[in-house]
């Protein structure tokens, strides 16, 4: 089943600015763990942020379960966003709030303003948050402030927060770039495991080709806003990698 289909996606940050994405097309199936690789500035982050409209595309179509995303506004857009979880490079946690409040904030799309004001989440949400925190191994940190945790722990909170949305798609924007190699592998393994278990397809920006080859079943190679490669991980080889990264000065 096709979860996400992107057709001829284009993006630029200002009307006169350079085009960051120059007509990207691909599709994500229900059991995919999709990697987007490419050098810095290739447009990986922009591409992923277009999917949930944190960045406005300037052209093309994005179909999420056959529904056009680029024209959604207001409440419809918020309903779309709560179906798409996102994990960030810099974790983007609320530092001065507890781990629990951070995980529960993944539920805001389902929560009314009055409950938001008093941080009064339904019992089911709290139960769900606790079980997710248990799964990511942070149960004993529930009441700690988010800024007291280490990088790896913070990203685990980010994972729990994204899964709290019961998403139908996970967007991962360089989830391991701020972490050391060992923790990176652990975090990727955790994401992969949880995604498989909950049957959530993933679309993952990653600049570490090793990790991409190891964890993902399909790869898109971006270079300067163009798609250079799109296929199963097995078809990727050194020659193609060299081509994708040709413009990067090493």
């Amino acid at each position: 089943m096709v979860v996400l289909e992107v057709r001829d996606l284009r993006a630029r940050y200002s009307a006169s600015g350079p085009e960051i994405l120059k007509g990207i097309s691909f599709r994500v199936e229900a059991d995919d763990f999709f990697a987007i690789i490419g050098p810095s500035g290739a447009g990986k982050s922009t591409l992923i942020r277009c999917i949930n409209r944190l960045v406005e595309p300037s052209g093309g179509e994005i179909l999420f379960f056959d529904r056009e995303v680029t024209t959604l506004r207001g409440r419809q857009l918020r309903l779309l966003r709560r179906d798409i979880g996102m994990i960030f490079q810099e974790f983007n946690l609320i530092d001065r709030m507890s781990v629990m409040d951070n995980v529960l904030s993944g539920r805001l799309g389902y929560t009314g303003n009055l409950r938001t004001l008093f941080r009064a989440f339904p019992r089911d949400d709290i139960q769900h948050a606790l079980s997710l925190l248990d799964r990511v191994g942070l149960l004993e940190f529930v009441d700690k402030r988010a800024d007291e945790l280490s990088g790896g722990q913070r990203q685990r909170v980010g994972i729990a927060r994204a899964l709290m949305q019961t998403p139908k798609l996970l967007l991962l924007d360089e989830p391991t770039s701020a972490l050391d190699p060992k923790i990176s592998r652990e975090v990727m393994a955790l994401i992969k495991q949880m995604a498989t278990e909950l049957e959530v397809p993933c679309l993952c920006n990653i600049h570490d080709v090793q990790l991409a080859m190891e964890f993902c079943n399909k790869i898109i190679g971006l270079q300067d806003g163009n798609k250079m490669f799109d296929g199963p991980t097995g078809e990727m080889d050194q020659a193609k990698l060299n081509e994708i990264y040709a413009m990067e000065v090493l």
């Binding site: 949930n52 944190l54 918020r78 309903l79 779309l80 966003r81 709560r82 179906d83 798409i84 979880g85 996102m86 960030f88 810099e90 974790f91 983007n92 946690l93 609320i94 530092d95 001065r96 709030m97 904030s105 993944g106 539920r107 805001l108 799309g109 389902y110 929560t111 303003n113 938001t116 004001l117 927060r161 949305q165 967007l171």
Partner: protein, 276 residues
């Protein structure tokens, strides 16, 4: 750029340098000379010509007049307790109401979250400027005229006077936040209100609290004089002592004000330490 490269500045000679130094000195001399003339003129017009020298009399008489304030009217203290508490209450309620008025002002005045920039941003800036450029006594006169004599006028005056500083500092704190958490709340499907409550507020809270405490401390000072224009508190007692020539009573009131302000400073020091 290109013509600078094409013709490099000619190397100055010793004569040139001496001439430019001399010109520099003349310019400086002229500037300070002009400044001196302006100060002297101001003193002549405002102090020498506008003071009733006859009334002041000799130096001894000036000292004698000032001496009248030395001494404390202890009998006044019991009746100062009420007005002192009232002064403190005016400061607290004024600050609280000011904080409430600041919520829209800070929200509209922060460029990154202002709802509709062409309208809401100038509106907020107008509120802030108006609040700060009018003195609290003038605000108090205005509100005494509007709601009559008494502490309510003082509370309203301080509230309006507080908007400027609290809202400006809060809006600046909001403009400096890390956009990451805001993205995260948006990505989870949060609405604008939820973005503010979860993404913005926790980040700016320490700074905003510190500003509020600071403003509260200033408001104690302000509320101590508002009574002079009929807006309640110690100022009214002060004014009455002055009018009845009870100069020792004036000193008593000043001591009460001093004690209250010191209390406020000590208190705000401890809150600041625990909260921030």
């Amino acid at each position: 750029m290109s013509d600078i490269l094409a013709s490099p500045a000619p190397k100055p000679t010793v004569v040139d340098i001496l001439r430019s130094r001399r010109q520099n000195r003349y310019a400086k001399g002229a500037f300070f000379g002009l400044l001196l003339i302006m100060v002297m003129w101001s003193v002549k017009v405002t102090v020498i010509e506008d003071t009733d020298w006859e009334r002041i009399g000799s130096v001894a008489k000036v000292i004698e007049a000032a001496n009248r304030f030395i001494g404390i009217d202890f009998s006044l203290f019991p009746s100062l307790l009420g007005p002192t508490i009232e002064t403190l209450m005016i400061a607290c309620l004024g600050t609280l109401l000011g904080v409430i008025l600041c919520i829209p002002a800070a929200w509209f005045g922060a460029l990154n979250i202002t709802p509709y920039k062409p309208v809401t941003y100038p509106l907020s800036r107008l509120m802030m400027t108006l609040s700060r450029s009018i003195h609290e006594i003038v605000w108090a006169l205005f509100f005494v005229a509007a709601v009559g004599l008494g502490p309510l006028a003082g509370v309203l005056a301080l509230a309006v006077r507080s908007i400027g500083f609290i809202a400006k500092m809060s809006a600046e704190a909001i403009e400096d936040i890390d956009p990451g958490p805001v993205d995260a709340i948006r990505a989870a499907g949060g609405n604008d209100f939820q973005v503010v409550i979860y993404g913005v507020l926790p980040q700016v809270l320490p700074q905003v609290l510190s500003v509020i405490i600071f403003e509260w401390e200033i408001n104690i000072r302000r509320s101590a004089i508002l009574g002079m224009v009929g807006a309640g508190g110690l100022g009214l007692v002060f004014f009455r002592q002055m009018n009845t020539f009870n100069f020792h009573g004036v000193t008593s009131v000043i001591i009460a004000i001093l004690l209250l302000i010191m209390l406020g400073e000590v208190f705000s020091y401890f809150i600041r330490k625990t909260v921030i």
